[in-house]
Symmetry: C2
DNA sequence: TTTAGACTGGGACAAATGTCCTTTTTAGCT
DNA sequence: AGCTAAAAAGGACATTTGTCCCAGTCTAAA
């Protein structure tokens, strides 16, 4: 699912002094904005484009947590926990982001009630989302998880690469291909002019 | 892993007016404090005892998100999102909890800077924890996940029932038993006086 | 056009996990 | 101690998923 947070984006558009706190930055496709285990001095909010958020384990395998779209916030957990980043954020399209320094982020949290509320809500949504997703992933088959994913965002399969979809579902590409094949065959049995 | 939040518990112990906002309540083993899809009017902080936090899917299968111990907070996500509960919280031992009404929770968030900060931190920790756990669960074998779980909390296997451990790992009891057996046999091959 | 290298899909088999059901163990009762 | 019902463990088999590897396809340089 591609996560968004429109109310946060609107806040930045409207807030007084916004341009002072939130610096616009262009990101090119493939660029890593935050890297796992590194220190990051900024929080980011997406104005345009899509990024993937993933963790890499000891063996070098990636697991994608979420896809981030318009308005999504990242880097904030590290600012509040005062830790290195626990994930990598990488652009999968060209992007425009607003970046806000750690100091300013903390300042806004303390002094801007609206901002504080928006961050709270963003956290609460992330927690609920993660809980439901993990639960669903564990309790259902790959096929069911894939269906759910497709229905969550229109045109998902066209936007996101197969490799990334597999990493999001926590499965091998082979398994993903198998499901896709299986499904196309089933579709064929209901269709007259199945090709090949 | 049994999650705790000692600084939050300490805050309640020390805060002025604490007794006005946080009402102590005794919970018996097995009691459901919050139920999935129901409206809950309170946030809770654990003073003593352990609870499990789980989601139940359409098919009636449970997936345990976390085990909650001293200081853990729950019900807060629903207060902030203003939604029904997305999980069930059930005591797996006798418990003592502090409960705080939705209204008071919101009041404290807005007017008590210390409380606000503690909730922020609690959220940030939960998000990080969930990300790491989901990632590990997906990328590793049952055996590896079980080992990780045991090492996280001393005496885990004695405190938590097998059924709950299986639900936490998102596997069937059969699979859990299989791993346990396998491991005991391996241990045996290094031991002289293996019984039976 | 040809060809080396990279990328993609899929076959064959192995390993992990789930389902179903039987056996064993436990605990309570008489 | 002996009996029975309930709980826990485990055997056998089916299904799912992963691993390894090969064949087909595409791309770009010569």
């Amino acid at each position: 699912m591609i996560r968004t947070n429109i109310e946060l984006l609107e806040y930045i558009g409207l807030a007084a002094n916004s341009a002072h706190f939130f610096l616009k930055e262009e990101i090119e496709k493939g660029q890593k904005i935050i890297e796992q285990n590194r220190n990051s001095a900024f929080g980011y909010i997406i104005k345009k484009g899509i990024a993937k958020c993933f963790l890499t384990d000891e063996g070098g395998n990636d697991f994608i947590q979420e896809f981030f779209g318009e308005g999504e916030l990242f880097g904030e957990v590290e600012i509040i926990n005062n830790t290195n980043s626990f994930c990598t954020i990488q652009a999968i399209s060209e992007m425009t982001v607003y970046k806000v320094s750690k100091t300013n982020f903390q300042y806004l949290l303390e002094n801007d009630k609206k901002f504080n509320t928006l961050i709270m809500r963003s956290f609460a949504k992330k927690i609920q989302y993660k809980a439901v997703r993990h639960s669903h992933n564990q309790l259902h088959s790959i096929k069911s998880n894939l269906n759910r994913l497709e229905q969550s965002t229109l045109g998902f399969m066209e936007i996101i690469s197969k490799t990334d979809i597999a990493s999001y579902l926590g499965i091998s590409i082979r398994s993903l291909n198998r499901i896709l094949k299986e499904r196309s065959l089933q579709a064929g049995s209901f269709t007259k002019n199945k090709v090949k």
